[in-house]
Symmetry: C2
């Protein structure tokens, strides 16, 4: 995103549609509006920097014993493939089983009974050789070091597509299979394994043996940790208590993220639904700063009131 | 930059040292403080994201007929080498001559009498083959298409170093050679050739035949366009008028950048020296926004007063 045009609270239009890669002239207003959810102004135009589409890809599906091993593998791929690493997605065994069980046509790319599954994609431009050799070399070294139990490298566009289809089917599968209480935490990369372990323990302290789904954009430290109920189990969880139970389970997860210096909303934002979380997790000094900015740019509170900032 | 710790005007400390790659919980305060030149708070700590150092490099020196050709070559390298492109620096013939003439040990890497000279660097991680073949193939295609007149690919660490030393010697050379009125413009990439032509015409309308130095980070659209006087010519330019002449020449350059939707300060910032440029080039709505933010965060104007924002 290089520039924005924004209509301000007093009707003024800020024409900030700069197409510049570098501009060091005053405050970074662009980033102030991005992610402000309409509470500081109405974005009416944007200048984007476009990149050439990648022309070469390699995709692999890998079975692993633990999130720790997945993190080690991620570090190795980053060291060797740098900017060519375009996806490093991790799901747990339950998520894979739900996709295979509930979405027609989905099959596991590997035979492995591994508890953790990782989709790795490398992408690049230019017309050189395929990236398969590069990814295969990384996986062979990892296999030799005992980091992974099984792996499949896609050898055709159809196979690449099939691997991605598993990842893209998680929402459909989870909706068909039961009730998943989605969360959207991010923690520092090195804390991801600890977060998953702690969140699992925390929700099972509330509901013993509760199944949990994990869908992580591991390269971003972004973990959708999802306490999961079959429809029967959700019915059995009581009628009037279910909203309170859902809130308690989400708080239990978000508390663990906060303890590890993480966030309760990596990509979904705040809106109205997460206002209570803003009040619960944001330091008072940070909320005060945000309120000062809001008052300065929207003194009469006419821009998307009641969103993003909890009542002060 | 992942996070900041900032002491605010009222003495509060904002502890924003998040180590997260994704965090979508309210306003982007980090970017508000970055580049604010101490006028919104005092940054006392920062969390950085570190990347592995590249392990492979290729560097070439290329002679070209025009900035248009350099831009075409840049596009080709971006399309084929994507994120491996780590530098695309352009200087004009005068700059090369000044370096060779005034800094001991510097020699031109090519025989060419080309008017424009480009240093290209590719960098990558991993342990694969050198990047020389990739860069050579791009340059051979460009040569076949008449885009470049001569090129040298560094074949050793010493040669790579020598090419970079030319680029790193421009400040020393220009200080020894005379008086250069440095500017720091950026324009949209596609407008760089038009900017150089227009700025050249504009300064020569004030001082006929004035030599100009061009040092551009072309990949960023960032052009240091430098009206240049030998010491004798600067003496001859009159005594009391020299400050006014320097200001007029810099305005002439910055006016052309503004006309092409560029900026007068791509990387050097504003401080006190460029306050007049802020007043001259920034739209009133943008200055008003910045002043509103400044008042909100520093109501008593105690943080680096007199910098960044011109008097309202």
């Amino acid at each position: 995103m290089l520039g924005l045009e924004v209509v301000l609270a007093d009707g003024t239009v800020w024409s900030g549609l700069y197409g510049l890669r570098k501009n060091n002239t005053g405050y970074d207003l662009k980033h102030l509006f991005i992610g402000s959810e309409g509470t500081l102004g109405v974005i009416t135009a944007a200048t984007l920097k476009l990149h050439p589409l990648p022309t070469r890809h390699a995709v692999a599906w890998v079975g692993m014993a633990s999130p720790e091993d997945a993190l080690t593998l991620l570090t190795r791929v980053q060291e060797r493939s740098a900017a060519r690493l375009s996806a490093f997605e991790m799901i747990n065994r339950l998520q894979l089983d739900l996709v295979i069980g509930h979405v027609p046509g989905r099959r596991s790319p590997i035979e492995s009974e591994a508890d953790w599954h990782v989709l790795i994609e490398l992408s690049d431009n230019g017309s050189g050789e395929a990236l398969d050799d590069e990814l295969q070399a990384i996986l062979e070294d990892a296999f030799a070091d005992g980091l992974l139990s099984d792996a499949a490298l896609a050898s055709s566009e159809a196979q690449r597509h099939a691997m991605w289809e598993i990842r893209h089917s998680v929402s459909e599968a989870n909706k068909k299979a039961g009730v998943g209480l989605t969360t959207d935490c991010a923690v520092p990369l090195s804390a991801v394994p600890a977060f998953i372990a702690a969140a699992t323990a925390a929700v099972r302290a509330l509901v013993p043996d509760l199944p949990v789904i994990v869908v992580a954009h591991l390269g971003d430290g972004n973990v959708h940790f999802i306490p999961f109920f079959t429809f029967d189990a959700w019915e059995a969880a009581g009628s009037g208590d279910r909203d309170a139970l859902a809130a308690a389970l989400r708080h239990a997860v978000n508390d663990e993220a906060a303890r590890l210096k993480g966030t309760f909303s990596a990509e979904h934002g705040v809106g109205r639904v997460q206002l209570a979380e803003m009040a619960r997790y944001k330091p008072p000094a940070e909320l005060a700063l945000m309120r000062a900015v809001k008052r300065a740019l929207d003194p009469h509170n006419i821009l998307n009131p009641g969103r993003l900032l909890p009542p002060g």
